[in-house]
Symmetry: D4
Subunit: 225 residues, 8 copies
Amino acid sequence: MSKNDIHLDFDREERVGFPEIVYGLGKSTDQLLRILEQYREKEKPVLITRLDAEKAAALQVDDAENAYDPVSQTLLVGEIEAQLEGLVGIISAGTSDAPVVGEAARTLAYLGVKSETVQDVGVAGIHRLLNQIDEFDRFNVVICVAGFEGALASVLGGLLWQPIIAVPTSVGYGAANGGQTALHAMLTSCANGILVVNIDNGCGAAMAAVRMLNGMQNGMLDGHT
Amino acid sequence: MSKNDIHLDFDREERVGFPEIVYGLGKSTDQLLRILEQYREKEKPVLITRLDAEKAAALQVDDAENAYDPVSQTLLVGEIEAQLEGLVGIISAGTSDAPVVGEAARTLAYLGVKSETVQDVGVAGIHRLLNQIDEFDRFNVVICVAGFEGALASVLGGLLWQPIIAVPTSVGYGAANGGQTALHAMLTSCANGILVVNIDNGCGAAMAAVRMLNGMQNGMLDGHT
Amino acid sequence: MSKNDIHLDFDREERVGFPEIVYGLGKSTDQLLRILEQYREKEKPVLITRLDAEKAAALQVDDAENAYDPVSQTLLVGEIEAQLEGLVGIISAGTSDAPVVGEAARTLAYLGVKSETVQDVGVAGIHRLLNQIDEFDRFNVVICVAGFEGALASVLGGLLWQPIIAVPTSVGYGAANGGQTALHAMLTSCANGILVVNIDNGCGAAMAAVRMLNGMQNGMLDGHT
Amino acid sequence: MSKNDIHLDFDREERVGFPEIVYGLGKSTDQLLRILEQYREKEKPVLITRLDAEKAAALQVDDAENAYDPVSQTLLVGEIEAQLEGLVGIISAGTSDAPVVGEAARTLAYLGVKSETVQDVGVAGIHRLLNQIDEFDRFNVVICVAGFEGALASVLGGLLWQPIIAVPTSVGYGAANGGQTALHAMLTSCANGILVVNIDNGCGAAMAAVRMLNGMQNGMLDGHT
Amino acid sequence: MSKNDIHLDFDREERVGFPEIVYGLGKSTDQLLRILEQYREKEKPVLITRLDAEKAAALQVDDAENAYDPVSQTLLVGEIEAQLEGLVGIISAGTSDAPVVGEAARTLAYLGVKSETVQDVGVAGIHRLLNQIDEFDRFNVVICVAGFEGALASVLGGLLWQPIIAVPTSVGYGAANGGQTALHAMLTSCANGILVVNIDNGCGAAMAAVRMLNGMQNGMLDGHT
Amino acid sequence: MSKNDIHLDFDREERVGFPEIVYGLGKSTDQLLRILEQYREKEKPVLITRLDAEKAAALQVDDAENAYDPVSQTLLVGEIEAQLEGLVGIISAGTSDAPVVGEAARTLAYLGVKSETVQDVGVAGIHRLLNQIDEFDRFNVVICVAGFEGALASVLGGLLWQPIIAVPTSVGYGAANGGQTALHAMLTSCANGILVVNIDNGCGAAMAAVRMLNGMQNGMLDGHT
Amino acid sequence: MSKNDIHLDFDREERVGFPEIVYGLGKSTDQLLRILEQYREKEKPVLITRLDAEKAAALQVDDAENAYDPVSQTLLVGEIEAQLEGLVGIISAGTSDAPVVGEAARTLAYLGVKSETVQDVGVAGIHRLLNQIDEFDRFNVVICVAGFEGALASVLGGLLWQPIIAVPTSVGYGAANGGQTALHAMLTSCANGILVVNIDNGCGAAMAAVRMLNGMQNGMLDGHT
Amino acid sequence: MSKNDIHLDFDREERVGFPEIVYGLGKSTDQLLRILEQYREKEKPVLITRLDAEKAAALQVDDAENAYDPVSQTLLVGEIEAQLEGLVGIISAGTSDAPVVGEAARTLAYLGVKSETVQDVGVAGIHRLLNQIDEFDRFNVVICVAGFEGALASVLGGLLWQPIIAVPTSVGYGAANGGQTALHAMLTSCANGILVVNIDNGCGAAMAAVRMLNGMQNGMLDGHT
């Protein structure tokens, strides 16, 4: 195959407010190396998601130990400077949701946004959640990560005033159907105004949060420039 | 068609602890009249479920106004005497779940069991539920009725010690998929030991509750006779 | 059935920033009348969605002609005063999406938010969209309404910087599968940070937009009180 | 990732009548070791389900040979004392259902409940079942485990008076669809009052049985304390 | 539209051993009248299935009362003479399966084959079935008709030696999924050598039975001519 | 709702080679009247598809009897002049496919293309097809219309050299699943190079055929101008 | 786990006309060895299906090279004597269907029935089939094996008079959906009287064929003894 | 198994205009070697698709390095001479679609057709596409390859006049559902006259393009000979 299979979108940040993020799954090591090369030439930081440890090792980036996070399967190369105001809360139902929590947190870091994680507070032990619900007021946007039936999104939706981005995860088995049940449950939440992204899509949730923070800071009274 | 299309199972009570209940949907008025006739000959009370108002009227039973309940679409003909000990709580998420709540309550009444209903306490307004959760201790068995994403079952499962029978309802639209989403969400509840019946199956939930009450009273120390 | 089947959540606004909205489908005229009565006693405005014309007429509200909108199948009773700052753009792909556009617009009106609609600009005639894309900069939040394959969301996602709430509609036939295809297409959009709500859920999209506007005005530098 | 991803629910037993059980799938060895450590500190026994042999070995528990059961893929660490009254029968359709039967039995053991298993009595050779049906009277609760089309649940439902918890298994191929067919068949059983849990969920069935036994002994005449 | 939309296959009997049967659903009255006319010209009897009462009346055939059967929704016009040897047993689970039983019986009658029906013997009351199982030995082929979870097919398959044609019906609701659950359950029956046709396809089951009877009488020792 | 919900795409013909066609389903009579008005002003012919007889009557076009075809549910208003060279064959499996055949034929007529229909030649009576297969050589493009399992597409694909556009129809019941089975069967045809459009999409098949004919006449040696 | 997990059904042959066949998938080597032991004690031949090469080797049967067939993944141990009259034709669409063809052929051999295979005659090259269709008259029963869209079943159904057992295979990708498309296509075949078994179920097709041959020889005029 | 499992269709080219292509998946090395042998005897070039590197190596063809392309997983053995006029454009959405792009390009090469590829121009960065849209006028047929939601097909459909063959790919996760979402989105495209083939079916798209080019050159004014 010829080498014309890659066209990076370096002016996406100009257009939509945040840079392109590289989806690692299904790309060959050769393709990824060429992508990294282009970023290096532009002297821009790069985030690759869905990158397994073996492929990450093959890319041989500097300071690999810090650059690659095996839980979230993300590789972040380069320095992040800009810091967008606001705080995103990432709240998860169970320990097994950690990879998706991680993908969201790493993406926010790459996009220059602060986040805090509150993990393993699913509704099976709802007191773990209710005990600290008032403290969630510090978040400007909430990302809710849950597998199985995803009921955490509904409970948060009934209690919080912030925008809530629900991320169904593929955690579960049988009727959980690879995350489809959590996905559809979150979409049909009886709680109002819940927003949903694709299964395990921590990265997309983070980008949506950035759109909101951009709107909060630039979009409002002054208009967007 | 010949008339050999009906074989009622009058000794089911002997076998499984409760009588046959007639499923009205898909049966012709002619078939239902012949069924009623057989019950009348045996001098037994009868419950018909999934019976629309028009067909109910065509059956012309005595005291139709009391016998037929249009909300639950059930027809109960005959006197109920026996009273099985125990109290079943029927807890529902929303106003639109009333027909299923009704089917469960009417079936329990037919089977000689007391029930109480607690309606419209879904998790979108979770305080409505938490405010009275301690009072649910009076129930021996809990039937939880909910449509949309059915998160009520998970919340109850994390808070109550009783057997919980979750009934998904077809209330909802789009990704609710006629109740499939609530069904699968309940089956994959992160809360432990939740039991599930078919969509809108208030009648089945009631029968399962009766199996449990039978077990509680007869089955335990003395054995079943 | 007893009359304990309705428990309105009048302090939801306190909690989540906007009042409860009544979902009309599956509720009986009798239930809806009792709900209206409770709102009247509290002297609060009320919005009922998914209300067909026949049921709306049976409710016999004052000034029914203005109160009931047959396109969006919504009934809005009472005066709206408060006006939350910000402008929501509702952009739709086709003429047949009008009911969902209407539900979103009416819900925003009920919640005191201004909106503008840009209809029938689907990607089959993409110049209709590109010609006016710069003008969309005036929107603080964008709601994108589309049926069939829902490609409009992806195109907007690649061009706009705002938060985008995609509403799949049930417009289409065959493989459109009652809106499931648009739903899944929007969830898997190659454009980044797209948020999705349930099929035909114009009302939910509007509530999510209000969460964002609340966040923009209250949540940011000062914290939420 | 930080270490705040685990919050065990040690007072679940207080609340719902039985302790939390650890779901091993999707948890890293590191996470599981930290979980075991917490249980050890509390001096409580622990059950981990869905734990493959390799991960089990990595946990290096004492007396691993007895603690880990490779058929049911469960690890049970610690002494079980309390014994709840009652006997649960676990009846399965085929030899290949053994892992799910085992998960149910091990969970019951962990929860202090006696059980007996009756395996490989599926309806293809229905005499194997009918020959011993009377002896099932000794069970207070019946767990029915079956894959393929799961017809065993319907046959038991027509013959037994006890509460029946049906567990569909993923045994089968093609149209068995990973257990979905058995699941839906059990949910739509023509036999009355059948209760269903998720595919392969032997653990959940056991917990539901414990809820029932708790109800039978504490819940009935005296109330629950 | 031109009139070239109908090409009847009058030599199908020559080829496959039985004549074409007209599928009424989706055909206009005009099309059906032209079809009847062609049969009349050929002086052949005709069977139309899936014909609702209104359309049947519009066709105005002679002796309509006998020709049209409202339960099975079939119209049989003309005299049947030939009688193929053999007896087909049609065994059904419930009263609501009567239309499919009827379609099979009417089709067999049209194809010159004797049948007997045994209805309402589903496994919820399995003694109704076991009591008469020995008498089923008189059947050369068994057609088993059942909705809900279709467990009757598995029970028959474990007890009978004949070829068994299972017909799932659309009787049921919720997870019965319009007959898909019975269909898939029958396909994955643990009983051996069960054959399945489409949902509600009584007509197809009858034609398959005729193929078998043809094979039994012509195909065996002498070869087919 | 405001009147800005319609933006017709009058220069689509310039762009893609054929004019916009109006999809009638889900549009109100009021919307359709405004659309007709716009076409009248431009003095252009218009085709409306998926228009039921009642709505068609409400539009009160001139010469309604010729303009509206009830079988294909299409309304064609205005004179067609241009005639694109080439002949499209529309081959269908059964009499019940006539509405889709009609929609394709009417669309081709509107787009100025000649077509011939060969109906009711499904593979159940394959000689009807094989007898005339050589005559199909006169077609430049073949549209194959079939419901149920859609096997006609595979047989044609193995015998013909032309481009074949397969249109699955919703004809069938049960496992036919509203046309999904024919759709997926055509997509997985063992015959090579079969192209597929949406279920019942006769109109789309016609437009695809026009793209091909445009390509054949303009696109080839001379390039497209 | 205790050793009571196996109950072989040695009098199945008495009841249904053919012995139990062991389904290897999901059974442990230990379980299979105990099964083989029981057969050896009874001095009966045994067939194990769905047995991969590695597990087969672990069973260490005599004359393993002949006993185990790697294509059909079957192990046949013991001498087959009885020979049931009749000839079964196994006709397949493609080379990749060979494992299923093999499973059917091996099962027939185990059950004492002669078969012939006609492979790779799918409808993409329909002349391969039509050229030899007359020779198929020698078969008493036809088993049709096909993946992808399974159109071969429809073509055979329109041409042959014998009972036809269609076996969908999991050959194919994408919309073939693991054999579901072929399965549903065969169930909705426009050809009449086609019978269907589960995906890849060559063994079940063979058992159904034996039921038919039993019926042909014993069941007919003399009755079954 | 006997060796009669392969019947190559060497006169397919005569019939449908292009030779048979060998589908490698599911065929054993032994089967593939016998197939190659038959082609060698006929002195014909052969293309094998879906062939993994390991199996390719086992076939030991001459000049393997050029013959086997690991990206598209195709093996092309033999000299291609004939060159059909016309140019096919293969336009893809993302870098990960390269294998499908490659399969289409290699198949076209095998069939003697020139193609050009335009990769990584998905709608997330739509300017990459719009910048060069006018240059696409040089293509006679367009193949559009896209995963995720496949919106590229709709955008191209609204801008181009050529026949468009949309190939959904299995690139994506979660709700992308292995390519089903792109497949259904392309089928329901609001753009007109889009044609669709199976998921990842680059080979089928190429064959369909050849049918069109054949039609363009032979089929038009002169008829096909």
